[in-house]
Amino acid sequence: MKKDTARTLWNDGTKTVVASLLSILMGVIFGGVLLFVVALCLKMPLSSAWEGFRIVLGGVFNTGRNYDAGSALTFGINARLIGDMLFRATPLIMTGLSVALAYKTGLFNIGAPGQYLMGTAMSIIVALAIDTSVVPAFLVWILAFLAAIAAGALWGCIPGLFKAYLNVNEVITSIMTNWIAANLVTLLFDGSRFINNVDFGKTGYTLKTATNGVATAKLGLDFGGGNANAGFLIAIVFAAAAYIVINKTTFGYELRACGSNKNAARYAGMNEKRNIVLSMAIAGGLSAAGAALYFLQGDVEFYWHTSMALPATGFNGIPVALLASCSPIGCIFSGMFMAYLTISGSQLSTFTAYNEYIANIIIAVIVYLSAFTLFFKGLMSAKKKTITVKSEDAKSKAGEEMKRK
């Protein structure tokens, strides 16, 4: 019987992964078709579309063009791009975790961009405001990181409180807090000249945190001159921690029970209101931590005119989580994959006449299809049932049948 169980679970896990891969495959095919359509419309040679497609697939393994051999694209290990991918994946993994964790509690955290912004602002302010000649830089780093988490948690709390105590849908309040954050952040930096970078008449940019000596340790991850640093490892630690909290602790058990059946959780004496608030607070903290890991890298300037646009990294937490079927460990891979595509996009505009928006469209299609993950899973189960009547997968269907009797 135990073996049986393992097989069912394994099948289910495999199916999830296969369904996600299927979404990715279809997104990439769609992107390829799009490249050819663009080529036809703009009367460009079809070979250029083929090159574009290869760059999209090649992503971080693109090493440029060999101008001695007819400008052919070359592929191989590109350490710098791989490093960049890890760096860009870091905040995506964190916002993905944020959305995934809230989702386990039955909440849709569309507030990740706002939480991310609050984290950004707090980490930069703390990292630049504390004089590193007085306080050691690593301590400032930690303080900035914690301050960011606190700000994000607070920001996530707000929709949580509204949801728990006034039954206001968290999506609506999250959208509002997003824009409040966007304007608040602009307001903050607009009024604080000392952290703004005004070199060469720049406006709207903060100083890099490295100017105060605060930067995430590289730990040898800066291979090939890439931007990767210990932040990526921290994100992995967070993912592992999220997995453990959700699946192995009583707190996670409560969160999952609330998310799966709020009424039963209440009936069993769990404090579902508290759990909703906590879940949103943790989700907020995770998003903000992602922002901190990105900006505390040290060499990034933050463009603070955010009142008009929310950070895409926050919103991209949703597709990262969806593509991972809300599994914390899965978020590591889906976050890296999204970063991979982003890099593909920038390579596309560097080396071909196509721009990076093609990559964005591919991401969009994959995101769209990832919502169909369940549908693909169902399709796979149906297929198997016709092949072998006694397949394991359709057992749930029989179960439902039993239930109805």
Binding site: Y253, E254, Y267, G269, K390, K397, K405
Partner: protein, 515 residues
């Protein structure tokens, strides 16, 4: 002889992975007969009806309507073959009138404009012909459950259905309404309609049916003429062994008070009045007190207030001498309350969780099951295995079975195992046997009596008259949120109980005290 059958389901086999839901089942329905389909939960009745309705395609066997072989691919095919069904949970639009509901989907129209006049004529004619009293212009949400059911029946008749399936139609009715339904079914059959009657209730089968087909664990056991059989024989065919109908129990020996409710008032969520009005009573150790009443008379709100799911607006609840009126749900549980909820899917279980996680739903924070906030899988599994063994909970994969895939009876057993094992002083059991078959009912009843005999106080809330009469030591009847009568099951009759439940009689509450 064969041309006499309107429906023939011959040698139907339907296999689901790991289970043969229907194993070579034959069901033949004669014109103008009332044919009972009897079987335990999970015996394959619903699968068989789903096959007849085109929801499933059988692996083997054939369906004949009027002797002709047919393929029923979906419910639309079933409709064209004049097969109609009254579902256990009505499929009515609450904010529509009775007439609108009846014509829904087959609206008579000219150029897209509704032509209700003819429809009304037809509905009125049908309702007079079969004695199906309805007010065509009343809103469904305003009419009684019995009238809603008559609306459902008219819906079938309006569509000229010849083959009528009733899926457990009496579960929600009062004794008087059940009696009326039986009369209606008889008159329908007399008019040549053929009726398939799915039920667990043997009394009803004995009363109206001509023949009865019995299924057990997916197998066809046999078809018998009701005239030549008995309740005992039917139940033996269904369960495969002798079943006791009367609950085996010694007279109650009530001891000290465990639960004391005084002046409890609960506001209604739907209306502006109170759902529960000034209810006071006591439950003592070693007795089963039953709150009887027709669905929707405040029982649900009362239990919510008692268990802490809803707030009471006035009144006091004392458990073992402690005032728990303001306590949280968990505090109440810790004070000695366990609760088998009315709706096992809404409150009782987290369907997506495995069985073992559901069995520790209130106890996951026990030091036994967690250390420093980390769930201890091993003890939970061992505990689950123990409960599964002791309470005979059957599931495909033991402790790790997703509860969603378990049968209703076993889901209920899981809840009962969990609540009984809490070993609380007070057991609140709300509709503990709803939708279960006689075998499971017998088991659950014996468990509840066992708890009483162990000196627990049991508060039973039930809509089933048999259960009320058989199980309880004292009956409190709730009508429109008030306790209108206290009855002794040994000296009262079902008819009298029915009168109290319908509000026609009272020996407690305002009017009684005024007189």
């Amino acid at each position: 002889m064969a041309d006499n059958y309107v429906v023939e389901m011959l040698n139907i086999t339907k296999v689901f992975p790991g289970i043969v839901a229907n194993d070579n089942i034959t069901l033949q329905l004669k014109r103008g007969e009332i044919h009972a389909l009897l079987g335990e939960n999970g015996a394959g009745k619903s699968t068989l009806m789903s096959v007849l309705f085109g929801l499933y395609q059988p692996e083997q066997g054939e369906i004949r309507i009027d002797g002709k072989r047919v393929e029923i691919r979906d419910p639309n095919d079933a409709n064209t073959l004049h097969i109609g069904m009254v579902h256990q949970h009505f499929k009515l639009v609450e904010c529509f009138t009775v007439l609108d509901n009846i014509i829904l989907g087959v609206e008579p129209n000219k150029l897209g404009f509704l032509q209700k006049k003819e429809a009304r004529k037809k509905v009125v004619a049908l309702s007079e012909k079969y004695g199906l009293l309805v007010d065509p212009d009343a809103l469904v949400e305003d009419i009684t459950v019995g009238m809603q059911q008559r609306t459902e029946i008219l819906k079938m008749l309006y569509r000229d259905n010849e083959i009528l399936i009733f899926d457990e139609p009496t579960a929600v009715l009062t004794p008087q309404e059940i009696h009326e339904l039986m009369q209606i079914m008889k008159s329908l059959a007399a008019e040549g309609k053929s009726i398939l009657f799915i039920t667990h209730k043997l009394n009803e089968i004995m009363e109206v049916c001509d023949r009865c087909s019995v299924l057990r664990k997916g197998k066809y056991i046999g078809t018998v003429d009701i005239a030549g059989t008995s309740k005992e024989e039917l139940s033996r065919m269904m369960v495969g062994r002798d079943v006791k109908f009367a609950v085996d129990k010694a007279p109650a020996q009530p001891k000290e008070t465990v639960l004391k409710v005084s002046g409890l008032t609960v506001p209604s969520k739907l209306h502006h009045n109170n759902a529960v009005k000034d209810v006071s009573f006591e439950v003592r150790r070693g007795e089963i007190v039953c709150i009887a009443g027709i669905d929707g008379n405040g029982q649900t709100e009362f239990v919510y207030a008692l268990s802490g799911l809803e707030k009471a607006s006035a009144g006091k609840i004392e458990l073992c001498g402690r005032d728990i009126s303001r306590s949280t749900i968990r505090q109440r549980a810790e004070a000695g309350m366990s609760h088998i909820p009315e709706d096992r899917h809404k409150h009782g279980l987290v369907l997506d969780f495995p069985l073992e996680d559901n069995l520790v739903l209130q106890r996951y924070m026990d030091p036994r099951f967690q250390k420093g906030g980390f769930i201890q899988r091993e003890p939970i599994r061992a505990y689950a295995e123990d409960l599964i063994g002791r309470f005979d909970i059957r599931s495909g994969q033991g402790p790790v079975t997703p509860v969603r895939s378990m049968s209703g009876g076993n889901q209920q057993k899981a809840i009962i195992a969990r609540e009984i094992d809490l070993n609380a002083d007070l057991l609140i059991a709300v509709q503990p046997t709803r939708g279960l078959d006689v075998g499971a009912i017998e088991y659950i009843h014996s468990q509840i009596v066992g708890q009483r005999d162990l000196g627990k106080a049991v508060l039973l809330v039930s809509l089933e008259l048999d259960e009320v009469m058989n199980l309880s030591d004292r009956i409190l009847v709730m009508y429109e949120g008030e306790i209108v009568g206290e009855l002794d099951p040994k000296t009262t009759t079902v008819e009298e109980l029915g009168l109290y439940m319908a509000g026609a009689k009272r020996n407690k509450g305002k009017e009684a005290s005024a007189s």
